[in-house]
Symmetry: C2
Subunit: 308 residues, 2 copies
């Protein structure tokens, strides 16, 4: 799957992933009204509105980018109906040829991580049969438990030829509280990065490992160091756009081959029509606004990469 | 909710929580056969088997203990049907008067943590209405993101009078890889513990905070230190039984008032009938075996506490 990701990035010339993290407040009024008129102001109605919203965006952008990253929390908050839309969104995106990175940030003791890995990337045994429950292509993983908590994900990845992205340095303002603490002269995130590089050696694709890392766009200096510590590790970079990261900030995350990183934008793409810049599209054309935002993001990143 | 937990522990004289972490392999053959004959060897069939298994155990033990802790991963691996059983299990346990600790170990950047907090502890707004999606009483939270990732959970807890348990030192063998790294002369988990104590001050119950901690039974020496660092923090202690923790190991986690900790056992309770010790119950009486295991666990812990 990491080879496929690299190939799709090359083909689209877009190291970009669209974060499908819908808030009900992003969904245009006319979509919500239709869903609520059919299903009421219920969890089912909210889920239906998000599903229609997602489909519109995916239809408008699927040919431009290699991958999407649905954030499961945004679906989970609507309970079972929300999670059904998470699953439908995964399936729909895969049908459209997109690679799906499930932003689940799971991680636990070994037996529990094994269950998460099975549910999201693998197949669960039921009697004599096996089923894929969520079936993302990649999943994000929290490293706090150490090797025990990560290994079951790698084992399932090996079976299924899928991948993970492990949190190393997160994009949020308080990420430094623990991640930046100095351990033997170096910040903890570097130690986590070294571990990720080690874990990554266990399961290599052609040029990059099936084990990737998450490093926030909001910390470009740290991105530079981590790029050096983890040369064969693909970096998923959140924090572009709404969280403050810009094209020029992203250059350090890439290798000289122009690969090695994929940049996520969520609000900046899916709620583009709410920005002044794209307001002229109007809410009826929210998906076209998203398409334009994707094009602008690709140009911003490629411009920064080409001028380095 | 922390006051209710303390009250229920006093009433039952059992600082014990049963981990409802069902594996299909724990479910007696006759339950699986019935479920599969009705629904086939499908995700629905697996979920039904787990649901019947859970109900049997809850019916057999609900009067002995204050709380249960379903591990969502074990349900999530069966996809939507599994998560429906997670929700049904929560509702069923609450009807039986049990406090429900959702072992979800979520944690993310602020806006995403807010969605998890809403979905598991709070109410999500849909138009003019509000809905509880999962509605646990407590949830476990991963601290890797720092304050931003934890604060949204505390905010929802304040609104709903619910609580959280934040991972400090986990019970698994490799937990030390990052958690034990030395920062300014002290292990990282102590710094996390100090932060938990600070966060806990923000929302105090009568004698303990609504913000609790997770510290593994497998590390009693560390438990002792953390007990001192976090005097007003209730500690959820996993790792008893199957993971190796014993009654005597648990004493350091408790305060002199005999409170301050609640000990989880999962496999040791729910799959008790598979142990040699309880084999005479037979699989038809698996729930009675679980009841006996709970009684033995309570006696083991109270014995250790009384002889200190």
């Amino acid at each position: 799957m990491i080879n496929k990701l690299v190939e799709k990035i090359r083909k689209t010339n877009a190291p970009v992933v669209a974060g499908l993290d819908p808030m009900l407040s992003y969904v245009p009024g006319y979509i919500k009204e239709k869903a609520f008129s059919e299903l009421g102001e219920t969890l089912e109605g909210a889920a239906e509105a998000i599903w229609q919203f997602n489909k519109g965006i995916v239809d408008a952008i699927y040919d431009l980018i290699p991958a999407v990253k649905p954030q499961i929390a945004m679906y989970e908050q609507f309970g079972i109906p929300g999670l059904m839309v998470y699953k439908n969104t995964i399936d729909y995106c895969r049908e459209k040829g997109l690679i799906v990175i499930g932003d689940i940030k799971r991680g636990d003791i070994g037996s529990t991580s094994a269950a998460y890995a099975t549910g999201h990337l693998g197949k669960v045994q039921v009697g004599s049969r096996k089923y894929s429950a969520f079936d993302e292509d990649f999943a994000t993983v929290n490293p706090y438990f150490g090797t025990d908590g990560v290994k079951p994900f790698i084992d399932v990845c090996k079976e299924e030829k899928k991948g993970i992205f492990i949190l190393v340095k997160t994009s949020n303002p308080s990420s430094g509280e623990f991640q930046d603490r100095i351990v033997e002269g170096r910040p903890l995130y570097e130690w986590v990065g070294e571990k990720v590089a080690q874990w990554g050696e266990e399961f290599m694709g052609d040029s990059y490992s099936y084990v990737g890392a998450v490093v926030g766009a909001t910390y470009p200096e740290m991105g530079k160091t981590l790029r050096e510590i983890m040369p064969k590790i693909f970096i998923l970079v959140p924090g572009y756009g709404a969280q403050g990261g810009k094209g020029a900030d992203l250059v350090p995350f890439f290798n000289p081959d122009g690969l090695g990183a994929i940049v996520n934008s969520s609000r900046g793409i899916i709620a583009a029509y709410k920005q002044e810049k794209y307001a002229s599209f109007g809410e009826r054309n929210y998906a076209d606004a998203s398409r334009q935002a994707v094009k602008d993001m690709i140009a911003d990143i490629n411009g920064a990469l080409n001028s380095r």
